[in-house]
Symmetry: C2
Subunit: 397 residues, 2 copies
């Protein structure tokens, strides 16, 4: 009786959520310290102190009818100005506040952008492995999902396969670097090549192919890695940002869409973004969290914990014999599945109380994802389990 | 190039927003005290003290990684339990937490419910005059909007016209009582009759017709008026609630959907709600504001200000000769347009710095809406302008 497709989306939750729910149950049975839950990308490091300090002082010092009142549908102008000032200063760009649209987090940024751009049947290219909800978001916007293979050595996109997948129906390409689920950061060279390809194909098909850059992990990189800022390389870029990961605020739902000031027909695109936000029921992004943004730009949660976790896990898993993709950012490790089936490995790992996610969900089979945004104590405690798991497979050979 | 329909929604903002923007400009020119801005339903009374107290103590006392972390997609279970306990106690109902879905406010509640229920081309009945965004929300969910006329004496729905508009394609009826824009509260008798009609027609067409009850103004009633709680009268009810108006939090976006425990196929409906929320990009409702809810249930902003405003305006406008619909709730007065054209009246009112909204936007011409959620000082200061406006029309006769 209700809409069948919505019913299916509701009744088959993501595999990630499924294993997370298993974990919750298991923790009740044997205690939370005994379960090594690497399923969910829920930041374990608290927000930087300035977040709660700013929220409290806003609550104590602002006129409540203004603080909690409607902002403009596109977001408070002062907040949007602070965002472009920050970006322009950091990346030497010239973005303007009038092309920033405040959103209820990255998922909203993506759905609004897709509904703004797509006409029924137009194609959206995603680069495997990719965040599984992209499929749901593209389908709901009546788009057609096309999947580009990765280069299996670097887990950057296979650019020949990108070229093969582009055609006159391609409306947009979604990139996500630092990447979920691999932790890979696309190099400047890769971004430049993607830009070249899309420019040439836009010319060939005589319409812009938009690059949607999903960037919740932009600040989560380790060592001296730089994340290329995409609008510098490709004009028809729409940035979808969220403060969920950088400020450890995933439950608060605050982010933004930035239409590049160099985007073709940027006013039309921005108005379509604003119209899609309206039609999907996003009246405005939460006001208190909007007003928090200007004071917290440039801050991140303490990333040293994630770096320590990554270093321990990467080093130890390699030593035990796992085949691990080199991770420069986000808080995920991507590991080649033991045996021939990642799903079987996920099941077997449960014997050792290790909760992993199969890469099948990410549109690319044969790997598992480890979300290492947990305490370092948990990481250390889990090492023996990882060792036993690979020995279990070795004993079979 | 972007989606044409989304572009149109973005480039033709609502008439209400348009006059609000005019007001902002005008206030800059002549000072905000000199402009009588009755355009927007933005609460002027601050939140009850317990709201900010609760938010601050949550921020000071909770583990930040839990406080700001993801909740379950449908909302925190404890929060949902507190909501049904409150409702069941207040209305002697038997609702259950597992059919509550936390949302980012009333607009999200409505869009999610519509996307959950509708298949392309199915009809949704709205009762004129109605909140203009209903049209946008229904269209975006691929539904067809059907408009039922009001009884012009009471501004309750014309039930014969409701019967005329029902057919085998009707999927849902949206009601909104206390009503925006009229301030009318539907009587128990009206709700009973609507329920009878929908029951009979559901039987006749052999499928449930859902009643979507949009209730952001549920607590905003004056005197000893009771708002009938709709699930007691009709089983296939979906309540769309928001704390925006009762707690003066319109910018914070917090509300819920309640699928009645008596609804046919309630599990399927609820899963479709959950799936639609997922597909539209609503990951979870803002966590901090979810956790605020249990402590603030049953509280409202100080409604005495709205009552005073209503009493002054209603009495004085009647005395001046205006034809005013009797308002029992919300914070709107609905007034018969002077002259033959409400839009012309809205323009002429600007001469007296009165900012009103034409009822054309609400699917029913010939009236104007006054949002009296402003300070009582403003109400008093505006009276002379209302007097001059009607004299202006009288001098013409």
């Amino acid at each position: 009786m209700p809409n069948q497709k919505m019913y299916e989306y509701g009744s088959s939750p993501s595999k990630i959520r499924e294993i997370f729910e298993y974990g919750k149950k298991r923790k009740m049975e044997i205690g939370s310290d005994a379960v090594f839950d690497f399923s969910l990308g829920n930041p374990s490091v608290p927000s930087p102190k300035i977040v709660n300090d700013t929220l409290i002082s806003l609550l104590q010092e602002s006129d409540p009818t203004i603080l909690h009142g409607y902002t403009s549908g596109v977001g408070d102008l002062g907040v949007r100005e602070s965002i472009v000032n920050y970006l322009n200063n950091k990346y030497q760009t010239n973005h303007v506040a009038k092309y920033v649209y405040m959103t209820v987090g990255a998922a909203a940024s993506l759905t609004i952008s897709l509904h703004a751009l797509l006409n029924e049947g137009e194609e959206v290219i995603v680069l495997a492995p990719f965040f599984p909800e992209y499929r749901v978001f593209v389908e709901k916007a009546k788009g057609v999902l096309k999947i580009v293979k990765p280069n299996v050595l670097t887990f950057e996109p296979d650019l020949d396969d990108l070229v093969n997948n582009l055609n006159s129906s391609t409306k947009a390409v979604i990139i996500n670097s630092p990447n979920n689920p691999t932790g890979v950061v696309y190099s400047e060279e890769t971004i430049k090549k993607i830009a070249e390809i899309l420019k040439a194909k836009s010319l060939e098909y005589n319409h812009p192919i938009y690059l949607i850059s999903d960037e919740p992990y932009r600040e989560l990189v380790y060592g001296d890695i730089e994340v290329p800022f995409v609008t510098k390389y490709y004009d028809n870029t729409i940035i979808c940002y969220s403060f969920s990961k950088s400020l450890s605020l995933p439950g608060e739902r605050i982010g933004y869409i930035l239409v590049s000031e160099k985007c073709e027909k940027k006013d039309q695109v921005y108005l379509a973004v604003s119209g899609a936000g309206r039609a999907l029921g996003y009246v405005c992004a939460p006001a208190l969290f909007q007003y928090m943004v200007p004071k917290c730009l440039g801050y991140t949660s303490d990333l040293s914990v994630y770096k320590t976790n990554r270093d321990i896990l990467y080093t130890c898993l390699k030593e035990y014999g796992y085949d691990v993709i080199k991770p420069d950012g986000a808080f995920y490790l991507f590991v080649k599945a033991l045996g021939s089936d990642a799903n079987e490995m996920v099941e077997r790992a449960k014997k050792y109380e290790l909760l992993l996610v199969s890469s099948d969900s990410f549109g690319y089979p044969g790997y598992i994802r480890i979300s290492y945004c947990v305490s370092t104590k948990q990481i250390k405690a889990s090492l023996l389990a990882f060792k036993k798991l690979i020995e279990d497979y070795k004993n079979e050979e």
